[in-house]
């Protein structure tokens, strides 16, 4: 048998419990490398927990997870291969933009200082500005810059655009699309806004109640969906597909509306 390139994220029976509550339970899925992967699912499906586990910020209560073929955050090398931007895009409020780049350069051996500087310039950020004074969009862009400039093989973005206005959201996503194309970087990004994913993703994973509901290249999925539903060509929207997929699996009290 030929050994394929390791999956970006591979989970097997993965579970995470907080006190008595399981935030993620019995999750088994494979997220392939080499795509821009959109991870969708209703609130509480376990997306944030799954991505936190993949970044090594959380430790699993049950099961296993491997990222690019190794245990998350196992060592410095593994940490260097994964870039992570958390949901609230945290930065140090008292540290300047330049200070953040200095931190990135000091803590990451593969740091691309020129690219980081260029991005900050393009974004029009003042290097001397404290990160605490940045707008939400600028802060998200700074956090993304830090994650990208470490030159990861896998970039994990947890609801990166949730708190951004539509313009900042569009800018942020186009940056992600450009970068993944330019550096052959696998990107996994979660969102509950399907429209966001439609714009940049080529692979879709639908997670419902911590279980894999649907996975595949978006084009294939859409074609299959339109055949099944008999929708006229061109294929039905991704939105439509996701809603159909989730509503079939959802308990009655949780409508699919929250996904739109």
């Amino acid at each position: 048998m030929i050994e394929a390139t390791p999956a970006a994220i591979q989970a097997c029976g993965l579970g995470k419990r907080y006190g008595r509550r399981w935030a993620l339970s019995d999750c088994t899925l494979t997220i392939p490398a080499g795509h821009v992967v959109g991870l969708v699912g209703p609130n509480g499906a376990g997306k944030t927990t799954l991505l936190g586990l993949a970044a090594g910020l959380l430790a699993p209560t049950a099961g296993t997870i491997s990222v690019l073929g190794a245990r998350p955050a196992a060592d410095a090398g593994q940490l260097g291969r994964v870039g992570f931007v958390a949901q609230n895009t945290p930065v140090y409020p008292g540290l300047s933009v330049a200070g953040h780049l200095g931190m990135g350069s000091a803590l990451n051996p593969r740091w691309d200082a020129a690219a980081a500087r260029r991005r900050v310039e393009q974004l029009g950020l003042d290097p001397r500005q404290r990160a605490g004074r940045l707008s939400g969009g600028q802060r998200a862009q700074l956090a993304l810059t830090l994650a990208i400039a470490k030159r990861p093989d896998l970039l994990i973005l947890d609801e990166p655009v949730a708190s951004l206005d539509p313009l900042a959201r569009r800018e942020f996503l186009s940056t992600v699309a450009d970068i993944s194309a330019a550096h052959e970087m696998t990107v996994v990004l979660s969102s509950h806004l399907v429209a966001d994913l439609e714009r940049i993703c080529d692979y879709l994973i639908v997670l419902v109640a911590s279980r894999l509901r649907l996975a595949g290249p978006i084009g294939t999925l859409l074609a299959a969906h339109s055949q099944l539903s008999g929708a006229p060509q061109p294929a039905g929207s991704l939105d439509d597909l996701v809603v159909t997929c989730i509503s079939g699996a959802l308990p009655d009290d949780r409508g699919p509306e929250e996904l739109r």
Binding site: L57, A73, L79, F84, V91, Y92, L95, M103, G104
Partner: protein, 350 residues
């Protein structure tokens, strides 16, 4: 990583550096005057008492008091403002997800930050202690009571700082919020310092003892201590003069067997000693007791003295530095244990 660690505590670093500069300047201005005073006056004096009090003007004593307080307080501040926020602030602000996803393992991140910031705390406490110890040395020599300022001089403040800092980090990693962690650090630090001072330090080296005959002329009756926890009244012999020594306890014990004088025994020797009003003059100044009372106590002590004597436990002057080293070692060891606990805890967060 080292540079980054220093950068993360820039405000505290600058504050500490400025504070040290101020203390150094004050010490440099007033210090030589003290040394000169010691050389000219105290050196010529017959060692103690009134001569010394006259030599060192009251403002010097006030400054000595405040500088001593500073040495005691600095380690606590290091624990609260450098230790407690180190992990707690990151957890509170969510910046752990930034800090712990750089190409540095969590353990290494913490070890470097513990070492850099911890050593900075120790250095600050050490520098302040060094300056104050040097500054106060003429007064300390003249005062002949080196144990009276044991916590405010020499090397023990380094241990206090290391301990307070690591305590702060652990508290922060456990409660995950900065302000409660700071409070917890303060309480824990004060409690540990008091416990060591009261229950450990006097016995780190078995005290020496000295037996003396009860002196009827200089033995009083009463109780010393703070009101709610003051021990019951008993005979209070005058402490002997042990230059630079530390008297850890004074008791009245039996000549045969060494049992302590009990209240019943005392009442048998001196009927009525525990009756009547006390003569404490309201705490301010002294009120002279009537001659009959003085005579009565004199005779009482003389009678007790036939069967009992005064037993003094003390640490001689020569044990000052060994005790400093022991106490430093205790606090440093505690700091190492706390640091290990902290690494263990942080590796399991999440």
């Amino acid at each position: 990583m080292i540079q980054f660690s220093l950068r993360m505590t820039r405000v505290q670093n600058f504050t500490a550096a400025a504070a040290i500069a101020v203390v150094a300047i004050v010490a440099a201005i007033t210090g030589p005057h003290l040394a000169q005073l010691y050389a000219t006056t105290v050196g010529a004096c017959d060692r103690r008492s009134a001569c010394v009090v006259a030599a060192f003007a009251s403002q010097d004593s006030t400054l000595r008091l405040w500088l001593g307080v500073l040495v005691v307080v600095v380690p606590g501040l290091a624990g609260m403002f450098l230790g407690a926020p180190l992990v707690a602030r990151e957890l509170e602000d969510g910046t752990v997800s930034l800090a712990w996803t750089q190409s540095v393992t969590r353990a290494r991140w913490l070890i470097v930050r513990l070492l850099v910031t911890g050593l900075a705390s120790v250095a600050v406490a050490g520098l302040v202690s060094l300056i104050v110890t040097w500054w106060a040395s003429p007064m300390d020599r003249a005062g002949m009571n080196q144990f009276g300022s044991f916590d405010e001089r020499g090397i023990v403040p380094l241990g206090y700082a290391a301990f307070a800092f690591t305590l702060g980090v652990v508290a922060g990693a456990l409660v995950r919020r900065t302000i409660p962690a700071m409070m917890l650090t303060l309480v824990g630090f004060v409690a540990a310092r008091l416990a060591v001072k009261i229950w450990l330090r006097p016995f780190l080296i078995t005290p020496l003892t000295r037996s003396l005959a009860l002196a009827p002329g200089s033995t009083g009756y009463g109780s010393s201590g703070y009101l709610p926890i003051a021990p019951p009244a008993t005979l209070q012999p005058n402490p002997p003069d042990i230059p630079n020594g530390w008297i850890t306890s004074i008791g009245v014990v039996s000549n045969h067997g060494g049992a302590r004088l009990t209240a019943t025994e005392l009442a048998r020797f001196c009927p009525g000693i525990n009756s009547g009003r006390g003569s404490a003059g309201g705490g301010l100044g002294h009120v002279r007791a009537p001659q009959s009372v003085v005579n009565g106590l004199h005779d009482c002590v003389a009678r007790v003295g036939t069967r009992f004597h005064e037993l003094v436990s003390y640490q001689p002057a020569s044990r000052y530095w060994p005790l400093q080293w022991y106490e430093l070692a205790i606090f440093l060891a505690a700091a190492v244990v706390l640091a290990a606990a902290c690494i263990w805890r942080v590796r399991r967060i999440g």
